[in-house]
């Protein structure tokens, strides 16, 4: 596919998303419900991973190496 501009490319990507999830056939209000649920879920996942992943990484390092890397100070 060749696109004239970036906007067209984004529109195509959105179209693919509609087709693959199947919401292409839904009515507009159903589409917006699906989109809002999906995007809020993704937002939550991103937020929680931002909050918790550093802690998990630190714990994992602690478990493997048996000591704290000097730059990370114990809580």
């Amino acid at each position: 596919m060749n696109f004239k501009n970036f906007r067209e490319y984004l529109a195509w990507l959105y179209y693919q998303y509609l087709l693959i999830t199947g919401i292409y056939v839904l009515e507009p209000w159903e589409k917006s419900i699906f989109n809002s649920i999906l995007f809020s879920a993704i937002a939550m996942v991103i937020y929680t991973s931002y909050v918790f992943v550093p802690i998990h990484v630190r714990l994992a390092l602690e478990f493997v190496f048996g000591f704290f890397p000097p730059t990370v100070c114990p809580v």
């Binding site: 087709l19 693959i20 999830t21 199947g22 292409y24 056939v25 009515e27 699906f34 493997v64 190496f65």
Partner: protein, 574 residues
Amino acid sequence: FLIRLKKGKSQKIIQSKTAFFPLNCPISLKVVFLCVFVYNNMFVCLFFYICFSVFQVHLASCYGGLYGRPFIESFEETPMLVAVLTYMGYGILTIFGYLRDFLRHWQIEKCSIAREKENQKDFVPLYQDFENFYTRNLYMRIRDNWNRPICSVPGAKMDLMERTSRDYNWTFEYTDRVVQDVINLGSYNYLGFAENTGPCADSACEVTMKYGVGVTSTRQEIGNLDRHEEMEKLVAKFLGVESAMAFGMGFATNSMNIPALAGKGCLILSDELNHASLVLGARLSGSTIRVFKHNNMQSLEKLLREAIVHGQPRTHRPWKKILIVVEGIYSMEGSIVRLPEVIALKKRYRAYLYLDEAHSIGALGPKGRGVVDYFGLDPCDVDVMMGTFTKSFGAAGGYIAGKRELIEYLRSHSHSAVYATSMSPPVVEQIITSMKCIMGEDGTTIGCKRVRQLADNTVYFRKRLREMGFITYGNNDSPVVPMMLYMPAKIGAFGREMLKRNIGVVVVGFPATPIIESRARFCISAAHTKDMLDRALSVISEVGDLLQLKYSRHRIQPSPARPFDDNVYEDIDD
């Protein structure tokens, strides 16, 4: 090359690991080595995965003694990712279906479809099974792709009535505009005899002037015209059998004649993908029905053997008759029956063969005589030859052909022969003229050319689709070309996008196919010119890019994936 590279790399890693793996080293080093080990395994797995996925093409081809020509049939397996995404799509749509049903139940939303009546509340529910749910909540949303009224001859091009819906396909309105010159890739007009000009239309016109349109009586009473007699003689001659008889409807030919041929104490062995009319006929007959896997001769032979060895259940008496029911071309898979093997099996186990040539008659074989001609076999080896005039001949009705005794028997025992009003004279005339044309009896080579044109068009169209990277099913020589779409939304999107670009196609989904194997089905015609096919192909390619339909991961090379043993059927006594 990529595979080589990966293989080389993984081998190198294996070497380095075995050479250097230290047993007594600090724990941190152990972790590093563990990582290397896992990493290495990953490559090995990846390598095997790639090997398998590249070479695992389901290509069944035979060059055995029974086949005079290569028999190449491909059913590429569904890519894993696509299958997962398809199920996911159906999952999402099902959830929304439940949501809508909930809203309808509590009357938050208007319900426009049949539902349980208030005063029948405690009765057995009528609209709760999966198919009703599917119709309400999935089919309705893309219903605009089907039943479109057309307002011209459904030839190579046709005119469609424009139709819109304001309530998401619950009701349609006609805008009184006509979409003109839509290329027709959907009609079963294999030889292009659906025309309103030319010799067939002229002679049908003449006959109408002479006989009128309706006959208003059955064949056994005063509805037996000289044209009917002539047509039946011609059909028998065309097929190379002793006798033939015609019926007004192809569907009824199957569903009414099988009960006349088989009954209680008989066994019907039916292909799993047989047409609804055959299934209905088999059920109405009251015989025992066993189903074998689609076109799978091992499965058929196993059933035949069991039937012979065990006989009828409980009593263990031998079956009165064993009838094998197959089709020539399967209209949803585009596959051609393995007729030489079926006939070999039938002879070996002394069963009868009922062959439905609805799609293959006229469309296959160098002389257009159907699968029997395609494989160069003797028509007398098939006990009951059935076919329809609805497809290649551009008329209506069906026929049964075979031995004289068989036809005499059916004339007096078949419901559709005794009780149905006889065929309309112009339809009969269309059949006669088109059949004579195919046989070359009209003194021209038009029919012969059309048969050849169809074969060329088919090979060309299939080849181009495969080259573009679409997954197509079926035999290389079959004019029915199913192209896989898989995802539910793509069924609707493909039909709409194609029509927007002035190409009319048929899209098929559940229940006509397994739920994940939705497809578009193109029917190639001799009336399609090269220009039309090229235009259609370029549009299909464009829509294929837009919808990402080019799923195929294989370069198809004909290779004998299923080894065929030449000697299997050698001990056949005729």
